[in-house]
């Protein structure tokens, strides 16, 4: 059984279709990139999985638990965690409070302190600024915090939406190094939205290509990144620019 199963899912905003009959599966411990041009439905897919937008059709399961029709807080309880686009950290809360918001759903309350210490080990800068308000952090630090905050719910599947958005390339490297390291340590299952196929190829994993709300390609991320012609075909010129 796959960890995440998305079966024939459609999402519509009013009459405008954002996703049409999307089916995909993610195995336990796998790393999946969702890629595609603007408006391809990447964010809609994440929102549908997390319960933030309703599905018009289809079914989503996490470890066999039905996610469709549940509100986001119930989906989170079933083991799904999200690092949203734009990070969405709580700027008026302290760094440590941000980390604690998502721990309310955990049944292993004893393990929370240890996990916070672990996050601080992974991101020493967060430990240094633990009592500072999170709004004062730099973009890269906020991305680290958003990842740490998502990990603190102890998720089965973590979804990361456009982690490279608005960050310097060097910081993006750091973010991906961290994600990969965390995944290896914890056996985490990762679903990452990444517009740059080159970046996805460098990090490695399986890639699913969306376009116009449909799955139009699937395969090894590195292979996708190599196939310039294919990239061109799917992304057009703007996509290629974004990829560089």
């Amino acid at each position: 059984m796959s960890r995440l199963g998305v079966f024939d899912v459609s999402v519509r905003y009013g009459k405008v279709p954002a996703l049409t009959d999307v089916t995909l599966h993610i195995g336990e411990g796998e790393r999946i990139f969702i890629s595609g041009p603007n408006g391809a439905g990447k964010s809609s897919l994440l929102k549908a999985i997390s319960g933030a937008v309703p599905t018009a059709h289809g079914r989503i399961e996490l470890d066999g638990d039905l996610l469709t029709g549940r509100p986001p807080e119930a989906v989170a309880r079933l083991g799904l965690s999200m690092v949203p686009e734009g990070r969405e950290i709580f700027g008026r809360l302290t760094v440590e409070e941000n980390l604690r918001v998502g721990t309310g759903i955990r049944r292993d309350a004893d393990a929370v302190e240890g996990d916070i210490a672990e996050i601080y080990r992974a991101f020493p800068i967060l430990a240094e600024r633990r009592h500072a308000s999170a709004g004062a952090l730099s973009g890269g630090q906020q991305q680290m915090l958003a990842i740490g905050r998502a990990l603190m719910t102890n998720p089965k599947l973590m979804m990361v939406d456009e982690p490279s958005l608005g960050l310097a390339p060097k910081i993006v490297d750091q973010v991906y190094d961290t994600l990969v390291a965390l995944q290896e340590e914890r056996g985490l299952t990762l679903l990452i939205v990444e517009q740059s196929s080159v970046r996805a190829g460098r990090v490695g994993g399986r890639m699913i290509l969306l376009r116009g709300g449909q799955v139009v390609g699937e395969g090894d991320a590195a292979a996708f990144a190599d196939k310039d012609a294919l990239t061109e075909a799917y992304f057009g010129k703007t996509g290629k620019e974004a990829a560089e």
Partner: protein, 304 residues
């Protein structure tokens, strides 16, 4: 007699009442962008919960007969229950409605409560006697002040400190602050929308009950219209304080209390009947100068 001390106690006790009422409004606005205009009627409801339901001119104490140590928690619970019930009956069905639709519904709810009180208790104001001994003056720092004023100041400080502790130190407090900042994100982290909103309404209703206890003791009257005036001032305080900002609501409540006491004391005699006109002119000026609120950093993004 010490005029400065007298003015200070007047301002602090009036401001304390405003601050508590403003907090009740700001709490709910913070988590669900609702300006709950029924808050004034929660206050009236709590005052009437003190007496036996009847349209007789003479009020017979009901909850009001309980000793203070019972009455206070009991009435706070009544206020909390009334607010939570109204959320359950009305606002829960409007979660996805626009802020304007929710606000208008809160007006409607206010009228429903007011008319229910009117039908149950009659329209005439009733004399009630709650803790009359608290109105005896005591001398503090050369000023002669009713004991109640001191209690109000103390109660406000206790409420503000208690609320700050609750928000800072408890799980529900953390969730409420997170939800107030970004509700969707909080839910994505497993924060239950219903728990947070119910919590905000319960706290808001308990604050309304605290204001009701003070008003009932101070005025010695139960009147179905009694929440309206304070609701208006409290709403203004939340706007001046920066909608949704709890420290802002408290600060603005105290500020409005202080300004109205000072105007009352120092306006020329002929102008004193128009004190509120001067007060609201100052409100307009403050909103023109700082539309985002006095106590919000100017860099903060507008919340409405």
């Amino acid at each position: 007699m010490n005029t400065a001390a007298q003015l200070f106690f007047d301002a602090a006790s009036l401001g304390g009442i405003y601050a508590m009422a403003a907090l009740g409004i700001a709490l709910i606005f913070g988590v669900m962008n609702l300006v709950n205009f029924a808050h004034g009627q929660y206050i009236a409801f709590c005052v009437f919960a003190l007496i036996v339901p009847s349209t007789d001119a003479v009020a017979v104490m009901f909850l009001g007969r309980a000793p203070a140590f019972l009455l206070i928690p009991l009435l706070l619970a009544v206020g909390a229950a009334a607010a939570v019930a109204s959320e359950y009956a009305v606002f829960r069905h409007l979660r996805k409605a626009t802020p304007v639709a929710m606000m208008i519904s809160s007006f409607a709810l206010g009228f429903v409560i007011q008319n229910a009180l009117l039908a149950t208790y009659g329209g005439r104001p009733k004399a009630i006697s709650l803790w009359p001994e608290l109105n005896t003056p005591v001398t503090v720092m050369g000023a002669s002040v009713p004991l109640l004023q001191l209690i109000v100041i103390l109660a406000t400080l206790t409420v503000v400190a208690g609320l700050a502790l609750l928000l800072k130190k408890t799980r529900i407090g953390l969730e409420m602050r997170a939800a107030a900042e970004n509700f969707t994100m909080a839910r994505l982290l497993g924060v239950r929308a219903n728990v947070v909103i119910t919590g905000a309404f319960a706290l808001s209703g308990a604050l309304a009950a605290a204001v009701a206890l003070i008003m009932a003791t101070q005025t010695g009257v139960a009147d179905v219209r009694m929440g309206g005036q304070i609701m208006l001032v409290a709403f203004i305080a939340t706007v001046i304080g920066g909608l949704g900002s709890l420290p802002g609501a408290v600060a603005a409540g105290f500020l409005i209390g202080a300004v109205s006491v000072l105007l009352q004391a120092y306006l020329p005699l002929d102008a004193r009947p128009f004190r509120d006109a001067f007060l609201y002119t100052l409100v307009i000026v403050s909103l023109l100068v700082r539309p985002q609120g006095l106590f919000v950093p100017s860099s903060a993004k507008p919340r409405v």
